[in-house]
C-alpha cells in the first residue's frame, strides 16, 4: 500500500479523559489505515470508543497520544495540531451525522453551497456545483426546500452532498442510518459505497446497523477502547447473508 493510496492512518491513538480517580481511558493504542475508495465500518457497543476515534480522526477531539496522518500529511502528534485544523478539516474531511444536522435556516441547496463558499468558491460557481451534487444524489427537485420540509432520508442525502462538496479524501459518518428505516438506511449506506468508489474517497462509518454491513470493504470492531479488524471471511458471510435477506 503506497502513501498516496492511504486516505487516513492512525498510529497508537490513546485518549484519556479525567485524572486520578476519575480517569477514563476511552481509546487505547488504536492503529488503523483506510485506503482511498474503501468503505469501512466501525462497530462496537456504546462506550467502546467509536465516537472518540471518529472525532480524533475528524480533528475535533485530539488524542492524548498517538499520530493522525491524513492524505499523507501528519496532522496530529498527540494533542498538538501541526497545522490549522479548521482549514485542513474544511479541505479534506466531510462529516455525516446520526441526525442529518442540516442548518435549519438554510435551504437544501444553501446547506451544501455554504460548505463550498467557506472553502473560497464564488457564489455562482458554488451554486452550480451544488446543483450538480444534488442532481447526483437525486435531490435537485428539493433544492429550495428547508430541512424541516424534507424526510429523514432526504435530509441525509443533503448531508451527504454537503460532506462531498469539497471533494474530501475522507468522509466520517456517525451512525448515519440510526434515524432511518431499513430501506432508507440501506440506500444511504449504498450511497457511501458509491461515493467511495466513484469519487475515490475513503469513508468511515460508525454504525450499529448490522443490516447493511455487506456494503463495507472492511469492518473494525471496538471494545473497551481497543480496535480489531473483523476477519474477511466474516464479512463475506455477512454479504451472503444480506443477499439471502434481499
Amino acid at each position: 500500500m503506497t502513501d498516496k493510496e492511504i486516505a487516513v492512518q492512525t498510529q497508537e491513538l490513546t485518549k484519556i479523559y479525567g485524572k486520578g480517580n476519575t480517569e477514563v481511558i476511552a481509546m487505547r493504542d488504536v492503529s488503523l489505515s483506510v485506503r482511498r475508495g474503501e468503505v469501512v465500518a466501525l462497530l462496537g457497543p456504546s462506550g467502546s470508543g467509536k465516537s472518540t476515534l471518529l472525532t480524533a480522526v475528524g480533528l475535533i477531539n485530539p488524542p492524548t497520544s498517538g499520530k493522525v496522518t491524513i492524505n499523507g500529511t501528519l496532522v496530529l502528534d498527540g494533542p498538538d495540531a501541526l497545522l490549522n485544523l479548521t482549514t485542513f478539516r474544511r479541505n479534506h474531511i466531510g462529516f455525516v451525522f446520526q441526525k442529518s444536522n442540516l442548518i435549519p435556516f438554510l435551504s437544501a441547496r444553501e446547506n451544501v453551497q455554504v460548505a463550498l463558499e467557506l472553502n473560497g468558491l464564488s457564489g455562482r460557481k458554488a451554486r452550480k456545483k451544488t446543483m450538480e451534487l444534488l442532481e447526483y444524489l437525486g435531490m435537485s427537485d428539493r433544492a429550495n426546500n428547508f430541512p424541516a420540509m424534507l424526510s429523514g432520508g432526504q435530509q441525509q442525502r443533503v448531508a451527504v452532498a454537503r460532506a462531498l462538496a469539497n471533494r474530501p479524501s475522507l468522509i466520517l459518518a456517525d451512525e448515519p442510518t440510526a434515524a432511518l428505516d431499513s430501506v432508507r438506511g440501506r440506500q444511504v449506506m449504498e450511497l457511501f459505497s458509491k461515493v467511495a468508489h466513484e469519487q475515490n474517497g475513503a469513508v468511515i462509518v460508525v454504525t450499529h446497523d448490522h443490516r447493511a454491513l455487506d456494503v463495507f470493504d472492511l469492518i473494525y470492531e471496538m471494545e473497551d477502547g481497543m480496535i480489531r479488524l473483523r476477519p474477511s471471511e466474516a464479512i463475506e458471510f455477512g454479504k451472503q447473508d444480506a443477499k439471502q435477506l434481499d
Binding site: 475535533i60 479548521t86 482549514t87 478539516r89 444536522n101 442548518i103 444553501e110 455554504v114 463558499e117
Partner: protein, 404 residues
C-alpha cells in the same frame, strides 16, 4: 452567502418581534433625550427669541424668569441713552391661571414694548402679530385657544389675532403675548370693591393726618385713580431689555449698568445660564441621569437578547465550525445580526416616536445631532452587547454538533 440575513429571513417573525421590543426600549431612551432637550429649549426659548442682547432687572434678583423682578418704567430711558444701545424695550413676564370652557387655562403673559415690538419675531402659524396698542393678543397653540376667539382677562376682553407654535414657558405652559400696557392691566387688575376699599382707606388715613386737615384738596385728590396721584409711580416692569448696535461688546454696556446700584444686568448667555443652572437644573439633572440609566439598562437587555439568540444557535454554530467555518464567519454573523437588530429597532423607535411624542404634554425635541449621537450609541451598544454572544460562540466546540 450572508448567514445573518438567511437566519433572519427564516425567523422573520421572531426578528420582527425582537426588533419591535428593542425599538420600544430605544424609543424610551429617545423620548428621555427629547424631554431633556425640550426642557432646556423651553427654559431658554423666550431668552433666545426675544432678540435682546442684555437684560436689566431688579437689583440682586435673577429675574424675570428665575424669580420675580420689579423695575421702574423710567429705567427704559436710562438704558436707552447708554452709548452702544440701539434700542431699549419694556418687558413684562408673569404667570396667570384662568378658566377656559370649564378647564384651567394656565399661561405665561409676556408684555411687548409697543410700538417698538409688535411681536413680528414670533413663529406664527396662523393670523398676524399685534397691530394695535390694546385688546389684542397672540397665543401659543398649546393653550387651545382659537384664532378670532375673545378672552376676558381682568376687566378687559382681548381678541386672539395670532397663533404661535412652540412658544412655551419653562414650566411647559403656553405663552400669550400682549402689549406691555395690556400685560400690566392683567397683572395689576384690581376688583372694583378693592378699589373702593383702598380709596376709603386713603380717606381714613388722610383724615387722621395733619396734612389732611391743612390741605383738604390733597385729601380730595386721594379719592381719585392711583394713576392721577403723582406720588404713586406707574406700574412696574419685569425687566428692560436692550438690543445693542452692531459690533458693540455687551460687556462694555453691562459694565456701565452694573455701576447702578438699583438694578442688576445680565447678558443673554448669563440669562440663559440663570435658567439652566437655576430653575431647571434639578429637573435637567434628574432627566439626564435617568436617560443615562435607561441607556445602560437598554444595553444590558440588548446584551441578554443577543446572548439568548446566540445560545439558540449554539448547535448551528458548532455545525458551521465542524464543516470548517472560521471564527470570523461566526463572529460576523452574530455582529451583523446585532447591528441589523439595533438598526431596525432604532428605525422602529424613530417612527413610533414621531407618532407618539407630539401627544406628550411637554415638548419632546429630537435634534438631528441627538438622533445621530443616539444612533452611534446604539451601534456601540449593539457591538458591546454582542460581545457576550461572540464570547459564547468562540467557545463553542465543533464536537457539540455531534451530540445531536
Amino acid at each position: 452567502m450572508n448567514l445573518a440575513v438567511k437566519d433572519i429571513r427564516h425567523n422573520l417573525g421572531r426578528f420582527a418581534l425582537t426588533s419591535f421590543g428593542i425599538g420600544m426600549l430605544l424609543m424610551m431612551v429617545m423620548g428621555m433625550v427629547g424631554i431633556y432637550r425640550g426642557l432646556m429649549e423651553d427654559a431658554t426659548l423666550l431668552i433666545d427669541n426675544v432678540g435682546a442682547d442684555i437684560w436689566v432687572v431688579q437689583n440682586n434678583t435673577r429675574g424675570p424668569f428665575a424669580e420675580v423682578s420689579r423695575v421702574p418704567k423710567n429705567l427704559l430711558d436710562r438704558v436707552a441713552v447708554i452709548p452702544g444701545v440701539r434700542n431699549a424695550r419694556e418687558f413684562i413676564y408673569h404667570m396667570i391661571q384662568r378658566e377656559h370652557h370649564g378647564k384651567p387655562l394656565r399661561m405665561g403673559v409676556v408684555g411687548l414694548s409697543w410700538p417698538l415690538d409688535k411681536g413680528e419675531w414670533l413663529p406664527l402659524i396662523a393670523g398676524r402679530s399685534l397691530s394695535q396698542a390694546h385688546y389684542e393678543m397672540v397665543v401659543d397653540q398649546k393653550l387651545g385657544v382659537q384664532l378670532g376667539e375673545k378672552l376676558r382677562l381682568g376687566k378687559e376682553t382681548f381678541l386672539v389675532v395670532g397663533i404661535t407654535k412652540g412658544m412655551i414657558s419653562s414650566g411647559g405652559d403656553g405663552l400669550a403675548f400682549f402689549t406691555v400696557d395690556d400685560a400690566q392691566l392683567i397683572q395689576f387688575d384690581t376688583p372694583g370693591e378693592a378699589v373702593r376699599l383702598e380709596r376709603a382707606s386713603r380717606l381714613e388715613r388722610g383724615a387722621r393726618a395733619d396734612i389732611g386737615h391743612t390741605q383738604p384738596p390733597l385729601l380730595e385728590r386721594a379719592l381719585g385713580p392711583s394713576s392721577s396721584i403723582p406720588a404713586f409711580g406707574p406700574p412696574m416692569l419685569s425687566a428692560v431689555i436692550a438690543t445693542l448696535g452692531p459690533s458693540v461688546d455687551p460687556l462694555v454696556v453691562t459694565s456701565v449698568i452694573s455701576g447702578w446700584s438699583d438694578v442688576s444686568v445680565y447678558t443673554v448667555e448669563e440669562q440663559r445660564q440663570l435658567m439652566l443652572k437655576g430653575t431647571v437644573e434639578m429637573a435637567r439633572k434628574q432627566i439626564g441621569l435617568f436617560t443615562a440609566l435607561l441607556t445602560f439598562i437598554s444595553a444590558i437587555i440588548m446584551a441578554l437578547i443577543l446572548y439568548t439568540l446566540t445560545l439558540e444557535k449554539v448547535h448551528d454554530i458548532a455545525l458551521l465550525k465542524l464543516i470548517g467555518a472560521p471564527n470570523r464567519v461566526i463572529l460576523s454573523m452574530i455582529l451583523q445580526q446585532a447591528l441589523l437588530l439595533a438598526m431596525t429597532g432604532y428605525g422602529v423607535a424613530y417612527l413610533l416616536g414621531q407618532k407618539i411624542f407630539p401627544n406628550f404634554p411637554r415638548r419632546v425635541i429630537l435634534l438631528d445631532s441627538d438622533l445621530f449621537s443616539l444612533a452611534l450609541i446604539v451601534i456601540g451598544i449593539s457591538i458591546a452587547s454582542s460581545i457576550l454572544g461572540i464570547y459564547k460562540a468562540v467557545r463553542v466546540n465543533p464536537n457539540e454538533a455531534l451530540s445531536g
